[in-house]
């Protein structure tokens, strides 16, 4: 079973190692971030602690979400190196679809239907073509000094603290 097909076996061990190592790395980051946030909330005002220290845990979650993407990239590289162009194309297609999903999410964050004005500000910031539009945009920005990203971050960070 092992002498006939050395190449796929190599790929399997490479993927196993990537996933194993990646899972531990991401878990360590999440664990560290949560522990820091818990410790901090003991000694200071809890809401402020969340705002500062959930960042490491958030990075850990981002790492975990990226791990399967890295797995597809590893497969793409291995298939390319072995000149298996058909499966390189398939891996590239999967990668494109995933990245499209990320882009859709990023666009969705600007168009989010929050009842507050930041959404509208973000929307008008996106319309660049007309000069009248840009004048309009400047007007809105002047009226609302707080940047939209900051405001939406606040909503996101304090969203689950009620419990």
């Amino acid at each position: 079973m092992n002498h006939g097909t050395p190449r796929p076996a190599q790929l399997e061990w490479l993927l196993a190692g990537t996933l194993h190592f990646g899972t531990w790395l991401a878990s360590a980051a999440i664990g560290l971030g949560l522990a820091l946030a818990l410790l901090d909330s003991r000694f200071s005002a809890p809401k402020l602690a969340i705002l500062r220290d959930m960042r490491i845990a958030t990075i850990g979650i981002a790492l975990l979400i990226l791990l399967p993407v890295v797995r597809v990239v590893v497969m793409l590289i291995v298939y390319l190196r072995h000149r298996d162009y058909r499966f390189s194309a398939i891996a590239l297609l999967v990668l494109t679809i995933i990245l499209l999903g990320f882009t859709v999410g990023l666009a969705g964050s600007r168009h989010r239907n929050t009842p507050t004005s930041p959404t509208q500000v973000g929307r008008s910031l996106q319309v660049p073509d007309d000069s009248r539009e840009s004048a309009h945009k400047a007007h809105i920005c002047k009226d609302q000094p707080s940047s939209p990203i900051y405001v939406s971050n606040c909503i996101y960070e304090t969203y689950d603290l009620g419990g």
């Binding site: 790929l11 993927l15 899972t23 878990s27 949560l34 399967p68 679809i97 999903g101 689950d160 419990g163």
Partner: protein, 287 residues
């Protein structure tokens, strides 16, 4: 952060992933209802956290399957084109579908899993199918074999009806993105009925695929800000530990009493999700 709530989330996802791991699936199908019903977490936040948990289960549990050559990598990447496309469609629907529909759909999926758990899965028999059902599998060199320790040899298998399998996988990806589950419920019929894979291969390959499927939707929700770290962090940690434990405590899936326990739990969760769908759950926490 409320440390008690974090520990509760950790414990729940540990238990759910360990139980799911014993049956060869991710724990998402338990995590979402428990978080919503007992933790009063908003269903969108629960789905986001559960998707992260699915990725953790998939990545944390993949290595042993890969090393023992049970995972069919070529088949997995081929089917992932369909599951990720389904997940992408789910992302578009996610914000549009009313919450009560999500609850009803979840209840329906829970009931379908009950039905599947009652029915025994067996290795698909007979390679009596005509050559044209194997055309795609042969063209992409997807046919493979896996080592069977009991026999000491490789068992070869052929991949059949790839187009039908791809369509079912699209549905599985869609459901996965909408409900935050690994969606083994749709993958199992796809693998058994359409592709006709041996059970060991289909479990390993399905586990390998759910990570990428969930990453497509979880990435979109993360960018959109729908994944709440205070919920998803403890859930992810619990799932990694639970998936490792579930793989260690090797309880046979044919064990009748464990199956019965699962059926009871799934029916209870389905009933409660239906009640929530109609707005008469016993509590509506405004977390």
């Amino acid at each position: 952060m409320n440390s008690g709530f974090a520990i509760w989330l950790f414990a729940v996802s540990l238990g759910a992933s360990a139980l799911g791991g014993m049956l060869g699936m991710a724990g998402g199908i338990f995590i979402v209802p428990i978080l919503v019903i007992f933790g009063h977490v908003d269903i969108h936040a629960a789905i986001g956290a559960s998707l992260v948990s699915v990725i953790a289960c998939s990545c944390g549990g993949a290595a042993p399957f890969l090393r023992s050559h049970l995972t069919n990598i070529r088949l997995a990447i081929t089917l992932e084109t369909a599951t990720t496309l389904g997940a992408l469609s789910g992302v578009f629907l996610f914000g549009v579908i009313p919450v009560s529909y999500l609850f009803s759909l979840f209840a329906a999926i829970l009931l379908v899993s009950v039905q599947q758990m009652m029915a025994r899965r067996g290795d698909p028999l007979g390679s009596s199918t005509a050559a044209d059902t194997r055309r795609w599998g042969a063209a992409l060199c997807l046919d493979s074999g896996y080592p069977e320790p009991a026999l000491g040899t490789d068992i070869a298998y052929r991949v059949q009806r790839l187009p039908m399998g791809m369509m079912l996988m699209f549905g599985a990806g869609l459901i996965s993105a909408l409900l935050g589950i690994g969606s083994g419920v749709l993958k199992i019929p796809a693998m058994d009925t359409a592709l006709r894979l041996p059970i060991k291969v289909s479990s390993a390959t399905s586990n390998f695929m759910i990570g990428v499927t969930a990453a497509a939707s979880a990435g979109a929700y993360f960018m959109r800000g729908d994944i709440v770290t205070a919920v998803a962090g403890p859930v992810a940690l619990g799932s990694v530990v639970g998936a490792l434990l579930g793989a260690r405590i090797l309880i046979r899936a044919s064990n009748a009493s464990i199956r019965l326990l699962f059926v009871v739990v799934l029916v209870a969760l389905a009933a409660e999700m239906l009640l929530q769908a109609f707005g008469i759950g016993f509590s509506k926490g405004p977390l």
